[in-house]
């Protein structure tokens, strides 16, 4: 028995799943100023007639950290960055308490310039004076050699509540993103900690004592305990929950697109053989870029409540803004939802008001009312699909770095579209007719996000580098470094990587029988040659426990969908 809860912008959805399928689902309004209350009332409602002792798994996805970052209600953080040669680190300033200090490490992880202890102490004193309690420390190339970060932490020794180090964030190279991500982890930490401690306590009072799992942006889960080191990983877990909820209905062995059509926006995501594609480096939305592992999603400003207008050229425009609900539901501006009502597809809402809205558009377009509604519907499908195909082209144009990858380049080509969100079932048939692509409205579309959260399994990745010239194998993200001999091989590297991943997954709460879902994301091997003679080898690998669903629930969800 599993509980999944997803706090969305307007609703909080909770599902109760057993091996037989969805047993119960509830929806409560989200109180954006009191998410704790929304979570609590969701759990209270679902547990009304369920014995909490039977629950084996609880997964929560919230907008807590996302909101805090968007509304800038985060804790002030003192940042210390050590850059060395390259782009001026001033460009990556996170706020007032940001100091670029000396010290430098090069791309092979060799120290070029040491850390100046006095300088760090002076910065520490400034932080203390400013009342800073949380500190982030990032050095360039710390993923090759974190010793400067560790030294700075030691110098600041216990003067602060918590110090976050850049090399723990990710094994990926990207100094500016590492600064942003380390900052974010520190900035949302107190909020995240306080919130989930309160949730944990309340659930305990309700008799729910299983460890809480928290959904991450990459569609995987981690334990509450593991989340304390990386609270920013919970950012944008909402879209991830929805995508995970579509997976049970995705075709095996084929590519599929997930379209989540909401009120204001449509989110687009991609599945290859039921596995969602990840952002190559980390979350990026607009100017905001991080190293947080995330599902690859794109948002387009079009949804059921997008404002409809006719521009000066006499053409229909849809969105990207929302001026309130559809006219059929008390709004003042016609929307695509009104078109659905006029076409008789949607049976709720006030038919009269919807017709009034669509008529105003129809008059401007010089069309009959029904014709205009049909036109609006088609244009919406067009816009969404056009954006989808653009994204697929962008995906397939991704640069590759080897001749082999260039020649073997995998082309993403979906044969199925999975539709989610309120108006999904109305759009499914239309899109299928227009584009001749199998289009499925995901069953339980209104709570598929909570189902996605409930069934998401633990994900994690490790990055391991070996440099036999320097005689060392490292995974600094995991605080791992060991000496190696010149005969260290690819097999040795992979063995090290697998064992590190296993430990990491276990600590993050992974179910032992999903541990075989490991995938090698990257592998590179190079000879180091100096003065025309081989000096050693460089090996690099990244392996991951890929996003997916826990075993034993998919087939019954499909069966249940057929029966309904």
């Amino acid at each position: 028995m599993i509980l999944g809860l997803d706090v969305g912008g307007t609703h909080t959805d909770v599902v109760f799943l057993s091996q037989k399928g969805v047993q119960k689902h509830v929806k409560v309004p989200t109180q954006s100023d009191n998410l704790f209350k929304s979570v609590l009332s969701g759990f209270t409602l679902i547990l009304e007639d369920v014995d909490p002792g039977r629950i084996q798994r609880v997964v929560i996805s919230t907008t807590l950290t996302t909101n805090a970052i968007v509304q800038q209600t985060v804790t002030p953080v003192g940042m210390i960055v050590s850059a060395g040669p390259g782009i001026d680190p001033e460009n990556f300033r996170t706020g007032d308490h940001y100091y670029a200090v000396g010290g430098s490490i090069n791309h092979r992880g060799r120290e070029i310039e040491p850390i100046n202890e006095m300088e760090i102490q002076r910065v520490g004193e400034k932080f203390k004076k400013a009342g800073i309690e949380y500190v982030g420390v990032v050095s360039k190339f710390c993923v090759r050699n974190p010793s400067h970060e560790i030294l700075i932490e030691r110098i600041l020794n216990k003067q602060f509540k918590q110090i976050f180090l850049g090399h723990h964030v990710s094994g990926n190279l990207n100094f500016p993103r590492r600064i942003a991500t380390t900052y974010m982890n520190a900035a949302v930490y107190p909020l995240h900690k306080e919130f989930f401690q309160a949730v944990e306590q309340s659930l305990e009072e309700m008799g729910l004592t299983v460890p809480i799992q928290i959904l991450k942006a990459d569609g995987g889960t981690m334990t509450l305990e593991a989340s304390m080191d990386f609270p920013a990983q919970t950012v944008l877990s909402g879209p991830a929950a929805s995508i995970m909820g579509a997976i049970p209905y995705a075709p095996e062995g084929h590519d599929a697109v997930v379209l989540d059509i909401g009120g204001t926006t449509t989110d687009i995501a991609f599945l290859v053989d039921k596995t969602p594609l990840l952002e190559p480096v980390g979350i990026q939305r607009g100017g905001y870029k991080s190293l947080i592992r995330s599902l690859r999603t794109v948002s387009k400003g079009i949804g059921g409540d997008s404002a409809l207008r006719v521009n000066d050229d006499g053409n229909l425009t849809v969105g990207p803004d929302r001026m309130g609900p559809a006219m059929a539901f008390g709004g003042s501006v016609p929307t695509p939802t009104d078109a659905l009502v006029v076409l008789g597809l949607m049976e709720t809402g006030e038919q009269g008001r919807a017709r009034q809205g669509i008529k105003s558009i129809a008059d401007q377009l010089g069309m009959a009312e029904k014709e205009a509604a049909e036109h609006i519907f088609k244009i919406c499908c067009n816009i969404i699909l056009k954006k989808t195909f653009e994204m697929i082209d962008a995906l397939n144009a991704k640069p590759v770095y080897t001749v082999h990858d260039f020649l073997e380049g995998y082309k993403f080509s979906p044969d199925t579209i999975l539709l989610m969100g309120g108006p999904a079932r109305f759009f499914a048939k239309k899109i299928q007719d227009m584009y001749q692509l199998e289009t499925i409205a995901v069953p339980y579309a209104s709570v598929a996000n909570a189902i996605g959260a409930a069934l998401a399994r633990t994900t994690c990745e490790v990055t391991v580098n070996a440099d036999t010239e320097q005689g060392v194998v490292t995974a600094h993200e995991e605080d791992f470094a060991e000496p190696v001999s010149k005969s260290f091989s690819k097999d040795d590297l992979l063995e090290t990587a697998y064992s590190l991943l296993k430990d990491k997954a276990k600590n993050a709460g992974a179910d032992p029988d999903t541990l075989n879902e490991v995938e090698m994301v990257e592998f590179q091997e190079f000879n180091i040659v100096r003065n025309f003679s081989p000096k050693g080898k460089i090996f690099r690998t990244k392996i991951q426990l890929k996003p997916g669903l826990i075993h034993g629930y998919e087939s019954m969800l499909n069966r249940q969908a057929l029966e309904n």
Binding site: D88, Y401, T402
Partner: protein, 437 residues
């Protein structure tokens, strides 16, 4: 967040699975540390820096610049096609105005490949800049192009391909040929009779530092560019003038390369050589990228950079000044030199030998060109490679006049079938390439 003042395209193709042989300088590892530096700096996250996927060039693309002997497939591997395709992708992005300028960070390089190519010379099989330039002319109708080769080795392949072309200004700055492979590229080498002065070769003494290098750019390259008024500037951006390069003896720096790029303002830069893969390339490439994008590059400094130690001697400074003066004199006399080279309609003959160090081939060439004041002039090249084939290649330039065009077809039609294994026709006026066996 870091923003750049304009859009810059980048093709990054390190060909991590291709090497001439495992310990050769042109090997898999060459751009590894550059990739690390560029990734760690977050360069691809600058919204105005746009990464493009390389294309793959077709035989048709190669046939505009080369006579591949016996054919394109035999001379190249996929890596060469993708490397040239990287330059082509950047050319497309720049010409379609998707970006203001672009840098193709590709390998293997190409500037030692000549018009007739029997195999590998100086790590090059096909000339990636020349293929790109000919593509740009055919596809986008660009007329005047300048190619500035700042690799430490004489760009003898490009020098050869553009030798007779008055519409392509080719300038090579390189370590003096008396001290360095390929041993050519002296100030008096000014191009063919119809194009004197449109090739400029500027040899620099070993030990030339940033100061000397930038002196040449400022006092020679920029004034010549100003006078030539190209529609497009291409930089063959070799990075082996660096003070740590294992194959050369120069004292150039990352700051110097960035400054050079800033002064030259190329529309397209294409990576050529550069073999100090750990101590130089990561910084030099970063410096060039930032300079192309218009981002502050003052912080891009090699860890062991010491300008005092790299200072050039007074005699080197004097030597460079003298060379520059000489080049500027030749440039000023270019039209007189063309007049003096021969009478229009006259056929001139040139003999030369080309050695392929990578593939150990010796090529003996005899070239005949029609002297012309109206176009670059058609020519034929008789090329006999040992070991290898004996071929004849006929080239009709893209803007050929009627007389030269007729002359080209006369060369082709009258070629002795029994003498050559293959006879090639490269008619750039109609973009036609034919082979007779």
């Amino acid at each position: 967040m870091l923003n750049a003042p304009h859009k810059t395209g980048l093709v990054f193709f390190p060909a991590f699975d291709w090497a001439i042989d495992p310990t050769h300088p042109e090997r898999e590892e060459r751009l590894l540390y550059t990739q690390d530096q560029v990734r760690e700096e977050g360069v691809f996250d600058v919204p105005e820096i746009i990464e493009y996927k390389p294309e793959i060039v077709t035989p048709k693309d190669i046939q505009r610049a080369h006579f591949c002997v016996p054919d394109e497939q035999t001379v190249t591997t996929e890596s060469h096609l993708i490397s040239a395709g990287g330059a082509k992708a950047i050319a497309n992005a720049v010409m379609l105005n998707e970006v203001k300028n672009g840098f193709a960070l590709v390998r293997p390089p190409g500037h030692h490949s000549m018009r007739v190519t029997h195999g590998g010379r100086g790590f090059c099989h096909i000339n990636i800049e020349a293929i790109m330039v000919e593509y740009i002319r055919s596809q986008f109708g660009v007329k005047r192009i300048a190619v500035i080769d700042t690799d430490c080795h004489h760009g003898d392949g490009s020098d050869d391909i553009f030798w007779h072309d008055p519409d392509v200004l080719f300038i090579s700055l390189h370590q003096d040929g008396r001290t360095m492979y390929p041993g050519t590229g002296f100030p008096r080498d000014l191009g063919g009779p119809n194009a004197k002065g449109s090739n400029l070769n500027i040899p620099l003494p070993p030990g030339t530092s940033t100061k000397g290098y930038l002196y040449v750019i400022e006092n020679c390259v920029l004034p010549v560019l100003e006078a030539f008024k190209p529609d497009l500037v291409v930089n063959s951006a070799g990075q082996d003038n660096h003070y740590t390069d294992p194959l050369t003896n120069m004292n150039f720096s990352a700051q110097g390369y960035a400054r050079l790029t800033d002064m030259l303002k190329p529309d397209i830069a294409v990576l050529e050589g550069g073999y100090a893969i750990e101590g130089a390339l990561p910084y030099v490439n970063l410096g060039i990228i930032l300079a192309m994008a218009g981002i502050d590059y003052s912080g891009v400094v090699e860890p062991d950079y010491n300008p005092e130690r790299l200072k050039q001697s007074v005699s080197i400074t004097d030597n460079i000044k003298r060379t520059c003066d000489q080049i500027m004199t030749y440039w000023g006399q270019r039209y007189e030199l063309r007049e003096a080279a021969g009478e229009p309609g006259q056929i001139m003959t040139r003999h030369r030998e080309v050695f392929y160090d990578t593939d150990n081939i010796f090529d003996r060439q005899k070239e005949k060109i029609r002297v012309c004041r109206d176009c670059g002039g058609s020519f034929e090249v008789d090329s006999k490679a040992t070991p290898g084939n004996h071929i004849l290649g006929v080239h009709i330039p893209i803007n050929a006049c009627k007389a030269c065009r007729e002359q080209g077809y006369e060369f082709y039609d009258q070629a002795d079938n029994t003498k050559y294994q293959r006879i090639y026709l490269q008619d750039r006026t109609t973009d036609v390439y034919e082979v007779k066996q």
